[in-house]
C-alpha cells in the first residue's frame, strides 16, 4: 500500500530522518513510536506530501508522492499534529468543503459527510462553530476530515495529544473502529497508546528505525516472564525451594533484615507451585508480582539505549523538551481514570490549549 525507501530529510544541516525504509500493508493499524524529535512528524508529513524529502522514495498504491502527488494524495487522509480546522466554520460546512476539495460529487458528499460525522460522533455538534468546540471535538473533526473521500490509508499524527482521559479512550475506540475498515497509521511518544490500539509497531529513534515488528513479536522480544518475590525467612532455604519448582529458569536473590528478595524468570506459570512450596515450608510470601513493564523496557532500550532505571530521568528530560511547556497538569488524574493507560512520560502529552 505504502512503500518507503531510503527516506532522508535534511533541515539545513540537521538530519531529521536518516534513510528509513518500511512497508505499510493494508488492513492493519500501524504505530509510529518514538520520543519527541525522533522524526515521526517529519516522516508523516513526507508520506502525505506536505513536506518534500531530501532524498528517497515514497509510493502510495503505486503512485510516487513526489511525481504524481495528486493521485497519491487521493489515497491518503491525514490529520496533522494540530487539527487543520477553520474556526469560523461549522463541522458540517468544513467537511463539505473538504469533500468538495477531495473531489467527492455533491450528491454523494451529503450522505458521506453525515456518515463520517456519525462515525466520529460529531453529528450532535455539526452546526456549532468549530472555534467553540472543545479540543476533543476539534480533534474528532480533524479525524473526520481525514476520513472524507474514503482514502485507503488514514494517517493520524499524535491523535490523542492534549486530550483528557475520557476523550483519549473515545479517540482510541474510534481508531480501533477505523482499523477494521481501513489501514491506519498513528504516531505517538507514549508506548501505552500504541500497544493499546496497534497491530504493528515501528519504533523511530533519532531519525532511524530501530524496530519494525508486530506487537506480539515485540512483546515476545521483550520476553522475560519475570516474577518478583518477597519472602520472610532464610535465604538458603528459599533458594532451595525455588530451584526445586519446575519451570523456573533462573533466579537472583538478595537478603535484607530476614526478608529475601527473589527475582525469577520462568518459562511456565510457576506462581501456584511457588505458593504451595513456601506454604509447606511455612515461609510466608509477603509479596509476589509479575514484572509487567517489559515492553516499556524494550522501548526505552531501543529508543534511548537505556534501561528502566533511567526512565524517570528520561521522563523529566522529555517533559522539558516538550513543545508545550506552559501548562502542565498533574499526571495522577489520568492514571486514576483509565486502568490500561499508563503515561510513560508523565504529563508530557499535555498540550497548551490554544486560543
Amino acid at each position: 500500500m505504502i512503500k518507503v525507501r531510503n527516506l532522508t530529510k535534511n533541515y539545513g544541516g540537521h538530519l531529521a530522518v536518516k534513510g528509513i525504509s518500511f512497508d505499510i500493508k493494508p488492513g492493519k493499524i500501524y504505530g509510529l513510536l518514538g520520543p519527541n524529535g525522533a522524526g515521526k512528524s517529519t516522516t508523516m508529513n513526507i508520506l502525505t506530501g506536505c513536506l518534500a524529502a531530501t532524498s528517497g522514495e515514497v509510493t502510495v498504491d503505486g503512485h510516487d508522492i513526489f511525481e504524481e502527488p495528486l493521485e497519491a494524495k487521493r489515497h491518503i487522509g491525514y490529520l496533522p499534529e494540530q487539527p487543520p480546522v477553520y474556526g469560523e466554520m461549522t463541522p458540517r460546512e468544513y467537511l463539505m468543503f473538504v469533500a468538495e476539495a477531495k473531489g467527492v460529487p455533491f450528491e454523494k458528499s451529503l450522505r458521506h459527510v453525515k456518515e463520517v460525522m456519525q462515525l466520529t460522533q460529531i453529528y450532535d455538534v455539526r452546526d456549532r462553530l468549530i472555534r467553540n468546540l472543545s479540543k476533543g471535538y476539534r480533534q474528532r473533526v480533524g479525524i473526520a476530515q481525514a476520513m472524507i473521500g474514503e482514502p485507503d490509508v488514514i494517517i493520524l499524527d499524535e491523535p490523542t495529544v492534549g486530550l483528557d482521559p475520557a476523550q483519549i479512550i473515545e479517540i482510541r475506540n474510534l481508531i480501533r473502529k477505523l482499523g477494521r475498515i481501513k489501514t491506519v497509521i498513528i504516531s505517538s511518544h507514549i508506548l501505552a497508546e500504541i500497544s493499546a490500539v496497534c497491530d504493528h509497531v515501528i519504533i523511530i529513534s533519532k531519525g532511524n528505525i530501530v524496530a519494525n515488528e508486530t506487537l506480539e513479536n515485540l512483546e515476545a522480544r521483550a520476553g522475560g516472564n519475570g516474577l518478583t518475590l518477597k519472602i520472610k525467612g532464610d535465604k538458603k532455604r528459599a533458594e532451595k525451594l525455588i530451584s526445586a519448582v519446575s519451570g523456573v529458569e533462573s533466579a537472583e536473590y538478595s537478603e535484607n533484615d530476614g526478608i529475601v528478595n527473589a527475582s525469577i524468570t520462568y518459562s511456565a506459570d510457576v506462581r501456584e507451585a511457588l505458593f504451595n512450596a513456601f506454604a509447606d515450608a511455612k515461609m510466608p510470601i509477603l509479596e509476589m508480582h509479575t514484572d509487567e513493564s517489559t515492553l516499556e523496557d524494550i522501548f526505552l532500550q531501543l529508543a534511548y539505549g537505556t534501561d528502566e532505571r533511567d526512565a524517570s530521568l528520561i521522563a523529566e528530560v522529555t517533559e522539558e523538551e516538550d513543545d508545550y511547556p506552559e501548562e502542565k497538569k498533574p499526571a495522577k488524574k489520568k492514571e486514576k481514570e483509565e486502568d490500561d493507560y499508563k503515561p510513560l512520560f508523565g504529563s508530557s502529552d499535555d498540550e497548551e490549549d490554544d486560543e
Binding site: C50, A52, P69, Y78, A101, G103
Partner: protein, 287 residues
C-alpha cells in the same frame, strides 16, 4: 480549486474583513462622488476614481492580509498541502475569492454613474471603462499584496508590508525623475539589482551554488552589454521603473481612453505575482 474559492469567498463574509473592506471602499467612493460630482458638479465619475486610488492602496492590504498568512498561523495550510489539489490551484482559488470581493465592490461603485446620470449628461462608456480599469488596477494590487501575505504568518506584518509595497508602487512614477538617466548610472543600478537578487536567492535557498549561478547569469550579460554598447543603457533604469509604476498606467483610463495595453499590463502584473505566490507557498514544503 472551486471548493477553495467558495470557502475563501464565504470566509470574507463570515469574518468582518469583507464587510469592512466593502464599507470602506463604498464610503470613500461616496464621499468623493458627493464632493466632486454632486457638490462640485462635474458629470464624470472618473474624478472620484482618481482620488480613490490613494484609498485603494490602504484598503487592498486589508483584504489580502489574511489570505496566505492566516493559514500558516492556524496550521490549516497542512490541510491544503495534503489535499489532492495543486499549490497553483490553492493560490488561484484564494486569489479569485479576493477578486470576487473586489468585483462586488466595483459593481457597487458602478451605481454612482447612473445616479449622476439622473442629474446630468454622463459619458457612460468613459465612466465604466475607467471603472473597469480601476478593477484591473485593484486586481494587480491584490496579487502583489497576496504575495506579501505569503511571506509572513503575521497578518499585521502582511498588512503593513502590503501598504508599504503599494505606496512604493504609487510613488514610483514620481521618484523616477530623481534618478540620473546616464548610461553609467543605469548600468550601476542594474548591477546592484543583480547582486541584490543573488543575495535574496541565497537567503531563500541557503545555497551558495544557486546564488552564485544567479549572480553570474544576471551580472555577465549586464556587464557584457555595457561594454558592447553602452548606449543601450541610456535612461534604461528609469524606463524600467516607469514600467513598474502600477498606478501611473491608470491615468490613461481617466482621460477617457480604454487602453488595451494597460489591460494586458495589469493582467500580466497579476499573473506574475500569483506565480511568485505559488512559488512562495510551495517553498514551505521544502523547508
Amino acid at each position: 480549486m472551486i471548493a477553495i474559492f467558495k470557502r475563501e469567498f464565504k470566509s470574507y463574509f463570515i469574518n468582518v474583513s469583507g464587510y469592512v473592506f466593502l464599507a470602506a471602499i463604498w464610503l470613500f467612493s461616496g464621499i468623493f462622488a458627493t464632493a466632486l460630482n454632486f457638490i462640485g458638479r462635474y458629470a464624470s465619475y472618473e474624478y472620484a476614481l482618481s482620488n480613490l486610488m490613494i484609498v485603494l492602496l490602504l484598503i487592498i492590504p486589508i483584504l489580502t492580509m489574511r489570505s496566505m498568512s492566516e493559514d500558516r498561523r492556524n496550521k490549516t495550510d497542512m490541510l491544503l498541502y495534503s489535499l489532492p489539489v495543486s499549490s497553483a490551484q490553492v493560490v488561484i482559488g484564494k486569489y479569485f475569492a479576493m477578486l470576487a470581493v473586489w468585483a462586488v465592490a466595483c459593481l457597487g461603485m458602478g451605481v454612482t454613474p447612473i445616479i449622476i446620470g439622473m442629474y446630468g449628461a454622463v459619458n457612460f462608456a468613459s465612466a465604466y471603462s475607467a471603472l473597469l480599469g480601476f478593477f484591473l488596477l485593484g486586481a494587480a494590487l491584490i496579487a502583489v499584496c497576496t504575495f506579501v501575505s505569503s511571506l509572513t504568518e503575521n497578518q499585521l506584518i502582511a498588512a503593513i508590508g502590503g501598504i508599504v509595497t503599494s505606496l512604493a508602487l504609487y510613488l514610483l512614477g514620481s521618484l523616477v525623475g530623481l534618478i540620473p538617466a546616464s548610461a553609467l548610472a543605469s548600468f550601476a543600478c542594474f548591477a546592484v539589482l543583480a547582486i541584490a537578487l543573488a543575495v535574496i536567492v541565497y537567503f531563500l535557498t541557503k545555497s551558495y551554488v544557486i546564488a552564485a549561478i544567479v549572480a553570474v547569469v544576471t551580472l555577465v550579460p549586464t556587464v557584457a552589454i555595457y561594454f558592447i554598447n553602452s548606449e543601450l543603457y541610456a535612461s534604461a533604469f528609469p524606463k524600467m521603473l516607469e514600467y513598474l509604476a502600477l498606478f501611473d498606467r491608470y491615468y490613461t483610463f481617466l482621460g477617457g481612453i480604454f487602453d488595451v495595453g494597460a489591460v494586458v499590463y495589469y493582467i500580466s502584473f497579476a499573473v506574475f505575482f500569483i506565480f511568485l505566490t505559488v512559488q512562495s507557498f510551495d517553498k514551505r514544503r521544502w523547508s
